[in-house]
Amino acid sequence: MITITLNVNGATHKVNVRPGESLLSALRLGLGLTGAKEGCGEGDCGACTVIIDGRTVDSCIYPAGEAQGKKVRTVEGLASNGKLSPLQEAFVEHGAVQCGFCIPGMLMSATALLERNPKPSEAAIRLGLSGNLCRCTGYAKIVEAVRAAASPA
């Protein structure tokens, strides 16, 4: 075991990890942040998506050690003071959530997308979310929610 320091959602934590342990595992087992999910462990589904220094990564294939000195954001950090972010709000209002397993990863990809491109076209939204598999929704209401959050009524 080695001890590393991670900055997650603005707070600094010391975490013990095995050599080569993934960031996903460090977040879930080490820090008890179970929002990010494991759907494949192979970088194919996006359920484990977190934001590192403004860019999305599949945390299941990202070594925890490499996140040292960087700013990690997870779904637990999206709401502030109990208030949902506009994107979370839109997901709730537009029925974008079914089983919910893909949702934490989907929200992180959508958050990064809107930070990069506040007024994305539908094609840009669809492309931006294509690293995140959802088996329930057919993506329609997820795309609708992102569009709504991008251009508040």
């Binding site: 929002g35 192979e42 997901f91 709730v92 598999l133």
Partner: protein
Amino acid sequence: MTTKVFGTRVPRLDAVDKTTGRTKFVGDMILPGMAYAKLVHSSHPHARIKRIDTSRAEKHPGVIGVVTHKDVPDHLHGELIWDERLFAKEKVRYQGDIIAIVAAEDQATADAAAKLVKVDYEPLKAVFDAEQAMKPSAPLIHEKWKSYACLPSPKVMPVWQWQKENPRRNCSWSSIVRKGDVEKGFKEADVVVKGVYTTPMVHGSPIENHSVLAQPHDDGSVTIWTATQVPYVVRMTVAAFLDIPISQVRVIAPAIGGGFGAKCQAWVEPHAAALARKTGRPVKLVFNREEEFSMAQPRHPAKMYVKSGIKKDGTIVAREATIYFDTGFTSMLSAVQGSLGALTAAGPYKIANLKIDVYCVYTNKPSCSAVRGPSGPQLNFCIESHMDELARKIGMDPLALRLKNAYEEGDIAHNGQKLHAVGLKQCLVKAAERIGWKQPKAAGGDGALVGRGLSCAWWITAVGFGTGALVSIEQDGTVHITTGTVEHGTGSTFGTAPMIVAEELGVDVSQVRVHASDTGIAPFDYGGVGSRTTFNLGHALRQATQDARRQLMANAAAMIEANPDDLDIAQGMIFVKGTPEKGIPFAIVAQAAPFALGPIVGRGSFNTMAPPFDPKYGLVEGSLFVSAQLSYAAQAAVVEVDGETGNVKVTDFAAAHDVGYSINPMCVEGQIEGGAVMGLGIALSERVGFDGEGRMQNPSFLDYKIPLCCDVPPIKFDIIETNNIDGPYGSKGIGEPPIVPTTGAVANAVADAIGVQVTELPLLPERVLAAMKTVKKR
């Protein structure tokens, strides 16, 4: 119906927790002293077991215990047909058959130790194809099939007896339909058309893998948290396999990360429970994606032969079909698959003469189960492609052909069921209209070939399994629903159920809480299968809420000295009808009730009964098929086919669904959009491949392609309401129907573009190109 809550767009109650990451799935749970488990699988598709040696695994540092067949009662069990063993004993029947389960201090140790279990095999001849497996030369997979028991239910036992009296080699289940005289029908026909269609194994692949956590208790009982659609079935099965009373098993299905039928049977829960009881430690078993793909209950591959006779005016006079479903190494829900195949092979058409044979056949492959719309996408591809062939042969518009033969209100189906609330024709007309069926086709981009296709279907709302619900009102006016139903994503339990209570009680949805899918606290429900949750829970909840309302009104009447019959509720106030300004708050009555007439607890208990059947209209044998009034659907697609590459792009898609009545439009739409996109995956890209030894070749999302966000067109949906008199508030099931007609619609659009039907799914570019070459040759 004048309603306040129904039909509005209310967020479901579990949505906020699911967007904040607070929702706990089984994989997120940790118990003190928890051990991690790994299964040991067979490395042969079919072999006799000579010896199992677990000694090295047991001695491995960090290992807590190993369980094999020696540690569990020596008997078979299952759901409908009891042909399953927990752990392989004499034989393994596929690459993946479970030999043992290992518990260790951490996952890496469990994984390493599982590799140390040694098995000596004597390989046997294997068979990987259903049609081949029925040949006399095929190896027998279940030598003792005739001795197997079935679920001791009066519905199942006579049908299982019929199966045993009509055995076929390696057949786990067959269902047949006989109506009229097909030979006579074919003679009357102007044209007879034959077709052969093939579909591969596909996977439900929920994004959450199977996950189980079993905790043993000192008194011998066990609590199991599991990602399942059927907690009460799990409870029954664990108890039966481990020979303990049902009351010793508590099963909780917390949030479930998608089911789609991949989680609609008890499965590895008894293995985890046996290990937990042997080691005395809580045990967690979470599949990785490879295990999920290679083991978890996929959709039956199918080979389908069909022949129909038609008159020049479009009347279909006879249809004959023989269907082979590859069931895999145990029967699982083959009885359901076969029974539904007898329905989907007939199609929602008036055909005077029918002869259908559906076989569910054992092979040395993973067990297939009842994946969303079992038999639907396979037979829709076959029957609806075949319908377009018929239309082409007699020069009739495919929409007109379907409208001519479609079932209508009051018709008697091939199984003798009298049909009511039949929205089939409305669905067909609507879906066609939405893709511009009557307008000329637009030109494709880059010279692509453009095609349009249409398909329709019927589907069941499963009957015969009941649901209980309680509605209690807390002292601050919060209304609690307690029920055994599960929430695997569809929204029936956390989206629609609260709306029913809010509508009946005149409260806001935000005042309602749901406590579901815990066999320790909630009344029975069969599970999230067969498009039945809203239908059954809706009825049970209506009773329970009306019961609670009566108690509430009686309490209020006593408080304000009025007659309960004169009272009404609106906006959280109870008042004498006509004088809402003189009301008493709902919450005040709720607070007083426990000290007045007693706490408010409403109860509901419901089981769906099949409408009457009249056997003089047709004979269906070997079938458990029973449904409440059927759901109807039509879907239509526009595709562009690249003539160089054979690549298919769906550019427009419409789905029209008769749901009876839409209580919760956001959830209904979500089912339609999600189901149709899943159907697009089956049509275009999804297939599980096997090597010659029955080993799965593509057990990852990289190699098994489900639709991505950028792949799918927007789904134009139409919700048709036909007011089903048997349904709660007129509704019918909608969980499965949206996946059923998609394959047919896309296949017909491709055929329209290239001039010939492609007869095998998925519609891969190479298959489309090959089909195009056959046209050029003609």
